[in-house]
Amino acid sequence: MGAETTMRRTLLLLLAGFAAAFGFIQVAPPIEPGPNFGTTDIVVQDGAVSSPSVWYCPGIESGDVVDTDVLVVTHRDVDVILTLLDPVANVAPTVDSFTIVGPGAASVDVGKIMRRGESPALIEISDGPAAAASIAWAESLLAGDRCVVSVPKVWYLTGGSTRVGTFTELRLFNPFADVAEVTVTAYSEFGVDLVPELDGLEVAGRSWATIEMESRLEFRDELAFTVTSSRGLVIPIIVRTDDRGEAIWPGSAPSSTWDFPIVTLGGLEPFIAVLSASGADIVVSLDIVTETGVVLNARQITLDSSAPALIPLADLAAPPFGVRLRATAPVAASVIAVVPVEDIDIVDVFGDDLGDDTTTTEASTTFIRGMAGTVGIATPSSAWIVPLTTLPNNETTLWVMNNGADPVSVEAFALGEVDFLGVESFIVAPGTIVGVKVEVGIGIYGYHVIADGLVSVAWEMSGERGAVLVAGVPASE
C-alpha cells in the first residue's frame, strides 16, 4: 500500500513537473505592430477622386493690393463650401458656399468676400472628381498653385533661397481643430541647417504660422525643407519672393520620376530644385522635352543626402520645353523660374567696391516681371482636371507632355460656369509637349483633359503682372 502510494505520488509529481515545465517554456505573445493609417509618412500624390473631397489652399491672400481667385473644376454637380480662416484666434471663419453644375468650373474672387490679408482656406466639394487651385494676383503680381487634398505627416519643399534680394517663407496651415506640433528641418548647400526654434513648433488649431527664413538662415542660395508632424497635421507651402515677383507652391512627394510639362515661361530662367528623400549618391537625370522632341540625359548630377541641388535648365534648350526627371531613388523636386540674373541691375547696396570679378550688366530693353514655381507630376494619367484662370494682358497656355513611346490623342474641354466652352483635339507625339492657348475673357476656369494614353498636364500664365506655373490634377476617371 505504502509503496503504491509512493509510486502514485512520484508519478503525480513527475506529471505536474512536466506540465509546469511545458507551461514555463511558453512564449509571450508577439508584439503586434500598431495600426498605420489615417496619415502616411510619405505624401500621396494629389488626385481628384469620385467622392467628396476637401482641398486645402494655404496661399490665399486678399488685401488692398492683392486679390485671389479660387478656382474649382468638377465633373459632376457639386456643392462647394469655401471656408476662409480668420487671422484672429477664436473668430469664426468666413464661409461662402456655391454650386457648380458639372461638368463645369467656377472662379470665386476672394476679395469680394473678405479683405484681411493672408487667409488660408479649405474648400469642401460634395462630389468628384473635382479639384481646386488658387491664384493670387495684383497689378504686378501673379502667384499660386493647385490646392492640396492629401495631408501627410511628412512634407518635402524644395526651391527656397535667401540669397540677396530673395526671401523665402514657409506658411504652415493647420485647418484642423487640434494643435499641430511640427518639426521643420532645413537643408541648404551647407547640408542640414539646424534651427532649434523650428523643432517642436506648435501651430494652433484652425490657424496658420508664417516662418520667415531670412532672419534664421541668411544668405542660402539653396534652401529645402522637410516638415514633419509629430502631432496633428499641417499643410505647408513655400512662398518665395524677390523684387520682380512672387511664387507659391506646396510640398512635393518623393518620387523617382517627375514630369514638368512646362518649365519655361515669360522669359524667366528655369531651375529644378531637388532634395534627396532616400539617401546619398542619387543620380538625377534630366530629359528635356520640347515641342519637337526629347533630349535624353540632357543633364545629370549626383545628389548628396542632405544638400539640395539647384539644376539650371536655361542652357539646355530653347523655350518652350518641359523636363522629365529621373532619379535612381526617390527625390523631392520642384521647378522654380526666376528673372535671369543678367536682366537684374546689380546694385551695390553696401556702397563697397565689389571687386573686379563683379560685373554690372546693362538693363535689358524688355522688363521681365515675375517668378514662378510648382511641384512636378509623379505619375502621368489619361485624365486630368486643370483649374486655371486668365487675366487681361497675360497669356495662359495649357501644356500636355507625352513621355511615352506612342502618340497620344488628347481632347481638352474648356470648362466654365456655362457648360463646355470649347474643345481642343490634338495629338501629342512621343517625347514632345503641346501647348494650347487659352482664350482670355470668355470665362474659362478650367480644363478637363482626356487622352488615350498617359500624359502629364500643367499650365502657365505670364505677362505684365508676372508669371505663374501650375501643375494639373490627375483624375480618377
Binding site: 503525480l12 509546469a20 496619415t39 469642401e124 485647418p175 502631432r231 496633428g232
Partner: protein, 987 residues
Amino acid sequence: MNAVLFGVVTDVYDDGQMVRIEYRAKCPCHSGAADPTREEGYAELAVAPDRIQNAPHMSMTPTRHASVATIVVTDGSGRLSRTLTALDQQVYELASVVAVGSAKGVRAGAPGRSVAVHATLREAIDGVGPSIEYLWIVREGAIPRPDALNAAVYDAIRTEAGMVGSKVVGEDGTLRSVGLVSDTFGVPYTGLDEFERDQGQYDVVRDVAALSGVALLLRRDLLHGLGGVDSSLAPGAAAIDLAQRARLRGARVVVSPASEVVFDQEARDDVRWREEAGRIRAMMKAYSLLTLLWVIPLDFFIGLIEVIVSIFLGRWHGFEFAKSWGWNVIYLPSTLRARHQARSGRVAGDEQLFRFQRRGSVKIARLSSESMRALRSRLPGDERFSIEAVGQEMRQPAFVIGILAVLFVLVAARNLWSDGFPSVGYTLGFPSNGWDALGAYAGGWNPAGLGSPDPLRPLLAIAGIAKVVTANAAALSEYLLGAGAMLSGIWGMMRLLRTWSISAAPGLIAGLVYVAGSAAQGIAGNTHIGTLLALGVLPWALRLTLRPVGEDGWAFASRMAAVTLTFGLLGAASPLLLLAPVPLIGAYALIRITDGNAWRALILSLVGTAGGALLLSPWIWSADFVSMARGGYAYWPIPPIVGVAGVVVVVAAVVAARRHLGLVAGWAGLLMSVGVLGARSGEFGFGTEFESVALAVLSLGAAIAVGIVAHAVADREGGGWRRLVMMVGVGGVTVLIAVSIVIMPGGRIGLPGDRFDSAFRFTLATAGQAEQSRILVVGPSFLLPGDSRSIEGGAYRVVSAPVPDLGEVRLAESLAFDDLLEEKLELIISGETRRAGGELALFGIRWIVVMGESSGPEAEEASVAWRNVFAGQLDLLPLTAAPENTVFVTDIQPVGRALTSAADAWPRIGWSYIGEPAPGRRAFIAENPDDGWGPPPRLTTESMNEISAETGVATYTPDPSSRTQAVFVLVAIMVLTGAAGWGRRRQ
C-alpha cells in the same frame, strides 16, 4: 357637579399621627374622553395612632372601589376554567365576568360555571353598563395572581393611566412580558432575554409603547372613545394598535409589575402574517401622512431584506410578506376609515408615539443577531458556538487568523465600499437599476456596442439581483459581491480542506492564498470580474461534491439541489469555470481510485454541471464556449519568486505529507501545473478568459498545497526528514502569503485602478448630453473597455456615456449597423472624408476618446495613429491638450442615439429612450435594426431603426422565449433553494 372624591394614603409621617392623602375630584369624564376635567390635591389628616399603626400592612385599596368588569377572551385551548378560578380569587371585587367566544366552547372550557358569553369582543364591551369604570380584558389561560387586578387598578388611578398592563410570567418563573417597546414600524420588542427569570428586576411602573394582551386594564370610557379593539387584527398587533390610539388621545399606557399574571401559551406560527398585516395597518392608522411617507416604504424594504436573509437562516417568509401587504391593499378602504376615527380628536402627535419607541429596526437587529449566531455556529470549526468553545477557540491560532482574515478582506476591499468596482478592462460598474439589468438578461436588448438582440451573460443577472437587493445603492452591491466573494472564497477553502480533515487554521491560510495570491491577482489583473467573483464559489462547488453523501434519500436530493445551485452560480459568474469541476474531480477520482466518494463526487459534478448549465438559460443556448476561450492571448507572466515558492510548497506537500494527504497534494500539484500551462497557452490559441480560468485552477491547487503544508506543520506530523522538508515548505508558504498581502494597499480586491470613469466623466459637463450620446473609444485594445473590434490593426469600440456599465462589456456578433460603422471608419481612416464628426453622428457618437498617451516619449503607437486620424478632421474639436486620453468632440448638431425627425434627441433612460412625444413624427434609434424596437408603426431600415415618435418612448420588446426561460430559471432557483435549505434543516 357630581364629582367623585377618592384618594389614597401616600405617606405616613414619622410622628405617626398624620397621614397624607392625595385625592382627586373627578367628573365622570377622563382623559381620552370628550371633556376631561379634574381637580387634584392632597390633604393631611390627623388620625389616631392606634388606627394607623398597621398602616404598612393595610390594603392599598381606596376607600371607594372603582367598578371593574372582566372580559375573558377565549381561544378554545381548554384553559378557561383555570382563568375563571383565578379571577374568583381576586382580592379586588369584580363587578362582572363575561366571556368572549362561542357558548359551546365556553361551556366546554368551564363546565359547571355560569358565565355570560358574547360572540365578539365588541359585543362584550358594548354590553358593559355605564356604571363600570374599568374593563379588565384577560386571555384564556392567563392566571392572574390574587392581587393582580388590585395592583392594576391602584396603578391606573395613581398614574392616571388609561391602559395598564400586567407583568406576564411563565409557570416556570421566566419573564414573558413587562410591557412592550416597539420600533417605529410597530414590531414589538420585549427587551427580555430568552429564559430570563423574574427576580423583580423590572418592578417599576413605567410608560411603555404597548402592552401584552394577556391581561389588560382599560378605562371603559377611553375604550368606548377609541371605538374598541380592532377586531380585524391579530392579538399582538391589536394590543399595539390600541395602545397607539390611546396615546394619540392623550392617555398614558403603563405597565404595572405588581400586577402579575401567569401565562404560558406560545404564539402560534400560523398567524404570523396576520400579525405583520396588523402591524402595518396599525401604522397606517396612527401615524401622520408625513411619517407614513417614509415609514411605509422603509418597512417594505426591511421586510424584503428579512425575506432574503431568512432564506439563509433556513426560513421562508416570502408568502407571509406578500400576504401581509396584500391584505393591507385589500383592506385599505377600511384602514382609511379606521385611520380617520383614530386620528379625530387626537391631542398628541407622532412624536408622542416616538417617545416610547426603540430606535432602529427590531427586525434588522434580530436578523443581524441571528445571522451572527448562525455564522458563529460555523466558524471557526464545525463545533457549535458556546462560551466554552469561544474561550477555547480564542486560544487557537485559527481564531486569530480568522479575525485577521476578516480584517484582511475589509482592508483589501475598502475602496469598493465608496467607489464600487473600478471601471477598467472587463470590469465595469453594475447597471444603475437592477430591474433593468434583470429585464435585459431575460430576453431584453443587449446594449453593448451598437446593440444586439443576443442574450447577455448571466453575470449581469447576478449584478441585477445584487442591485435590487441593495435598493440600487450606488456601490453597496459591488462591495457586497466583491468582499463577499473574497470572504466566501476563504471560508469555502476552509470547508473544502475539511474534506481531508485539515483544520481551520491551515484552511484560513490556504483561503488567503487562494483569494489573494499571485494567481488571483492575475485574474484581477485581467479584470475578469466574473472569474474573480467565481473564486468565492469554486471551493464550495468542490466541497459539496466531495463531501460524503448520507444514506437518506432526501438528504441526497437536497445535496443535488445544492450542487446544482452552486454550479449554476459558478457558471453565472464565469461560464468557462463551470466546465472546470468535472475534469478536476475526474483527476481526483483517478488519483484516489479506490475512494467511492471521489467517484460519487464525479457523478455529482456531472449532474451539477448539466443542471448548472440549464440554470444559465436563456444565455446558455447561444453561448459559444470555443470563441469565449479563444479571445485574446493567454499569457500569464509568472513572477519568479512566486514560481519558486509554488514549486517548493508542492514538492514539500507531496513528498512529506503523510498518508492520503500526499495524494491530495499530488492532485493539487497537478492542478497548479495544469493551471500554469493553461494560463500561458496563448500559443495554442487560447485567450485571456481561458487564462483567468486556468489561474483560478492554479490558485485552487496552490491553496490546497499550502493548506496541506500548514496542516502538517501545525499538527507536528512526523519528524526527521519529513519535518525538515515541511519547514522548507513553510518558507514557500510564507512567500505566497507575503505576495498575497500586496493587494491590501489598493483596497480593490486586487483589481487595477479606475480607467474609464476618470476618462469619460467629462461627458457630464453639459447636462443631458451624456444620456443622449455615445463615445467612440479607440487606442490599444488593452486600454479599451471590454471587447473591442479592429480595423486595419486599430482597436475601437462604442460605449454609452457617461460611463459604460457591466451590460456593455461583451460585444455581440457584428450586425448591419456595426458594419456601417466600420465602413465609416474606413472612410475616415483613409482620409476620404475630413468630416468624421458628421459621419459618426449617425451612430449617436458625440465624443471620441483616444485611450493612452498619444504624444511624448511614452506614447502608444496605436494611440498616436488614432489621434492623427481624428486630429485631421474638420468638424472635431479637441477638448484637451493632454497627451493621455485625448478627447475630440463633434462640432455637428444634433447628435443623438435616438433622434426624432424634428431633430430632438431622446435620452437613454434605463434600457429605453424617453423624450418629448412628437405626434406624426418618427424617431430614428441608432441601434442595430431589430423588430423588437417600437412602438409601431415601425420601419426597420437596413442599418438602424425607425419607429413612431408618437408616444415619446422607444422600447425594446423582450424575446418571449428568452423571458419565459428566465422565469423558469427563477422558479427553479427558488425550488432548488427551498430543497437545499429544507434538506439542511432535516439534517
